[in-house]
C-alpha cells in the first residue's frame, strides 16, 4: 500500500496537478494501472500467505478486490469521478477477461498434460477388450470407430434434410408453412440433447422394440444437427445477391437449375463450414449416446446392431470407474476428442475464410 500513498502525494504536490487551465486534467501516469495491478497481486498473495488461506482462488479474489477499490479511490481523488468510473470500467473489463482466461486455459492445459500421459499409437489402435478397468492399458479404437460411424450417419441424415429445408425457406418459402418451419427450427435449436435422446428412446426402443445401436444414437444426433445446418445454410443462401438469381432466371434457366448451378456454388464454402461446425458440435454429445448406444468395451463395426462405444461416452465411463488408470484413459480420450473437434473447427473456419465472398470484413 505504501507506494500507492507516495504516488498520490507526489501527484498532489506537482504544480498544475489540478490544473486551472480548462483543457488540462490531472491524470495519473500511464503506468498506474500496471503498478496498481502488481501491488494488488502482491497484497493478495501477502494476505493469502499471512492468513494461511489455502485456496489460490481466494488470493485472486482479494487481489482483484484491492485493485478495484484502489483504482477507484486513487482515480477519484486525483482525476475526478468521471475518470474514476472510466478506470473502474476498464479495470473490471480487464478482470473479466483474466477471470475467464484462467479456467479456460486451465481446462486446455490439464487436458493436454494429463491426456498426453497414455496417449500413443497403442492407445489409438486398441479397444478395451477384456481388460479390467482398474488396470493400465487398453485404448479407444472402438470408441473412434463408433464416433465416426454415428456422426457419419447423423450427418447423412441431417445434412440433406437441413440443406433442403434451408433452400425451401430462402428460395421458395412464403406463407404459413414457411413461417411454421422457421418457428420450429428455432424451437428445435433449443432442444436439450438428452431430450432428443429420450425421444428416440421412446419411439425406437420402447415402442418399436429395437435394441441399442449406433444408428439409434445417430438419429438423436441428427435431430440436434438439423437446426444448426438449417440456420447456417439459410444465412449463407441469404448472402447470395438477388442479381445473380435474376441474371440466371432472365436467361431462361429453370429455377431448380438456377439454385443448383448458381446459388449453391456461390455459397458452398459457407454451407460446408456450417455443416462442419454442426458435425463438430454433435461429435462431443454424450447424453443421447449414453441412452441409445450404451457403450461397449469391444470393437463393433456394425452401427445397426448392438451397443457401440463413442469417444465422449468413453470419457464419461472411464471417469466413472474411478481408478488412476481409468482417469488417465479418460484424459487421453478427452484430448483426442478435443483435438478432433478443434481441427474440424479450424478447417471449417479456414474454408469459410478461403471461400468468403470478397465483400465486407
Amino acid at each position: 500500500m505504501s507506494d500507492v500513498m507516495t504516488e498520490r502525494q507526489a501527484l498532489a504536490e506537482r504544480p498544475g496537478g489540478v490544473s486551472s487551465l480548462s483543457l488540462k486534467q490531472a491524470r495519473l501516469p500511464r503506468w498506474t494501472p500496471a503498478a496498481l495491478a502488481l501491488a494488488s497481486a502482491a497484497i493478495g498473495c501477502g494476505i493469502g500467505l499471512g492468513a494461511g488461506l489455502d485456496s489460490r482462488i481466494q488470493w485472486g479474489l482479494i487481489a482483484a478486490l484491492v485493485f478495484v477499490v484502489a483504482t477507484f479511490v486513487l482515480s477519484a481523488a486525483v482525476e475526478g469521478a468521471r475518470q474514476a468510473k472510466d478506470r473502474l470500467a476498464t479495470g473490471l473489463v480487464w478482470m473479466a477477461f483474466l477471470l475467464a482466461v484462467i479456467p479456460l486455459a486451465s481446462l486446455l492445459w490439464e487436458t493436454v498434460v494429463r491426456g498426453s500421459k497414455v496417449l500413443d499409437g497403442y492407445f489409438l489402435s486398441h479397444s478395451m477388450g477384456t481388460l479390467p478397468d482398474a488396470l493400465p492399458g487398453g485404448g479407444i479404437y472402438h470408441a473412434i470407430i463408433g464416433t465416426l460411424e454415428q456422426v457419419g450417419l447423423a450427418t447423412l441424415i441431417a445434412a440433406p434434410l437441413g440443406l433442403f429445408t434451408a433452400i425451401y425457406l430462402v428460395e421458395y418459402g412464403r406463407g404459413r408453412l414457411a413461417k411454421a418451419v422457421t418457428f420450429f427450427v428455432d424451437v428445435m435449436t433449443g432442444i436439450p440433447s438428452i431430450v432428443a435422446g429420450l425421444f428416440i428412446l421412446s419411439v425406437w426402443i420402447l415402442i418399436l422394440g429395437f435394441g441399442p445401436s449406433g444408428f439409434a444414437g445417430s438419429m438423436a444426433l441428427a435431430i440436434l444437427m438439423v437446426p444448426v445446418v438449417v440456420r447456417s445454410t439459410e444465412e449463407m443462401l441469404k448472402l447470395v445477391p438477388n442479381e445473380l438469381r435474376e441474371a440466371s432466371l432472365a436467361l431462361g434457366v429453370p429455377k431448380w437449375r438456377t439454385i443448383l448451378k448458381v446459388v449453391l456454388p456461390t455459397s458452398i464454402g459457407g454451407i460446408t463450414t456450417g455443416v462442419m461446425l454442426a458435425v463438430a458440435r454433435i461429435t462431443g454429445e454424450t447424453a443421447p449416446v449414453m441412452l441409445l448406444v450404451w457403450g461397449a468395451k469391444t470393437i463393433n463395426n456394425n452401427p445397426f446392431q448392438d451397443a457401440q462405444q463413442s469417444l465422449p461416452l468413453y470419457v464419461f465411463q472411464q471417469w466413472q470407474q474411478g481408478s488412476e488408470a481409468s482417469y488417465d484413459r479418460a484424459w487421453a480420450a478427452a484430448l483426442v476428442l478435443i483435438a478432433f473437434v478443434m481441427i474440424l473447427n479450424l478447417v471449417a473456419r479456414g474454408i469459410a475464410r478461403w471461400k468468403a465472398p470478397k465483400t465486407g470484413r
Binding site: S22, L23, K24, Q25, R82
Partner: protein, 258 residues
C-alpha cells in the same frame, strides 16, 4: 465564449500513411471558416485533428500544434475528453442516439458534465433547441425518439446537442451532404446565426455553400493520389472566389478539376 485557433506544422497519419502534411493556419473567432477541396485531400481528417477525434480511428496519429487561444490541444497533460467537450462537432450523417428521446439527446452532453438538475436541464435543452431553430417543431414531442425526425431535423437536433454544452468552437463535417435542399437552407441559416456565438469551421463539397455561409475559405489539395493533402491557401471567402492568389484554387473553383 468563442476562441481562435492557430495551427502550426500539423501532419496527420493513418498508421504509416501520411494523410495531411505540415498545415499551418489561423481560424478567427466568431466567424465561419470553410474548408474546400477535392475528395481525399484530407480536409475532413484535418477537421478531426482540431478536436482530437482523429486519434480515435485505429492507427490515427498527429504531429504538430493546435493552439486554442494559447493552449496546445496536443500539449502534455491535455485531456482529449476535455478537448472534445470544448470543441464540439457535427457529423456528415445525422447521428442522434437512437435509444434516446429528443430531450435526452440534447441533454446527453450536459448529463456527462454533471448537470443533473431537472430544471437546469429543461432550460438548457429549450435554449439549445431554440438556438438550433428546432424548438417549434419538436416542443410537443420532446419525449419521442430522436430517430423519428426527418433528416434535416435530425441534423439540427445534433447541432442542438453539440451547442448545449456551450463549446468554444463548432466543427461541422459536411453537415448538409445528406440533406435535401430545404433542410440544407435551414442549416445554412442556422450557421449564420450561430457564428455570433461560436467559432465555426465547416467542411463542404459544395462551393456555393462555402460562398454563402463562410467568411474565410481554405482550399486543400493533394499533388497526386496517395500523396498527403496540403493547404493551398486560406483567405477571405470573397477573394478566394473572385481573385485567388494560386492558380490551382482558381482551376478548382471554376470546375476544371475535382
Amino acid at each position: 465564449m468563442a476562441k481562435r485557433i492557430d495551427v502550426s506544422g500539423l501532419s496527420a497519419f493513418y498508421g504509416n500513411h501520411k494523410a495531411i502534411d505540415d498545415i499551418s493556419m489561423s481560424v478567427e473567432p466568431r466567424s465561419v471558416t470553410a474548408f474546400i477541396g477535392p475528395s481525399g485531400c484530407g480536409k475532413s481528417t484535418f477537421l478531426r485533428t482540431l478536436n482530437r477525434m482523429h486519434e480515435v480511428t485505429p492507427g490515427g496519429r498527429v504531429e504538430g500544434k493546435v493552439l486554442l487561444d494559447d493552449e496546445d490541444l496536443y500539449g502534455p497533460g491535455v485531456d482529449p475528453v476535455a478537448v472534445r467537450r470544448t470543441v464540439g462537432m457535427v457529423f456528415q450523417r445525422p447521428n442522434p442516439f437512437p435509444t434516446m428521446s429528443i430531450f435526452d439527446n440534447v441533454a446527453a452532453g450536459l448529463r456527462l458534465n454533471g448537470t443533473t438538475k431537472k430544471s437546469d436541464l429543461t432550460d438548457i435543452v429549450e435554449r439549445s433547441l431554440k438556438g438550433a431553430n428546432l424548438w417549434n417543431e419538436v416542443k410537443d414531442r420532446l419525449n419521442k425518439p430522436g430517430s423519428g425526425l426527418s433528416g434535416g431535423q435530425q441534423q439540427r437536433l445534433c447541432i442542438a446537442r453539440a451547442i448545449a454544452v456551450e463549446p468554444q468552437v463548432l466543427l461541422m463535417d459536411e453537415p448538409c451532404s445528406a440533406l435535401d435542399p430545404i433542410s440544407t437552407l435551414a442549416v445554412e441559416d442556422l450557421i449564420g446565426e450561430l457564428k455570433e456565438r461560436f467559432t465555426i469551421v465547416i467542411v463542404t463539397h459544395n462551393m456555393q455553400q462555402a460562398a454563402r455561409v463562410s467568411d474565410r475559405t481554405a482550399f486543400f489539395n493533394l499533388s497526386a493520389v496517395g500523396q498527403p493533402g496540403t493547404l493551398v491557401e486560406i483567405d477571405d471567402t470573397e477573394r478566394i472566389f473572385s481573385n485567388p492568389s494560386v492558380q490551382a484554387t482558381e482551376d478548382y473553383i471554376s470546375g476544371r478539376f475535382g
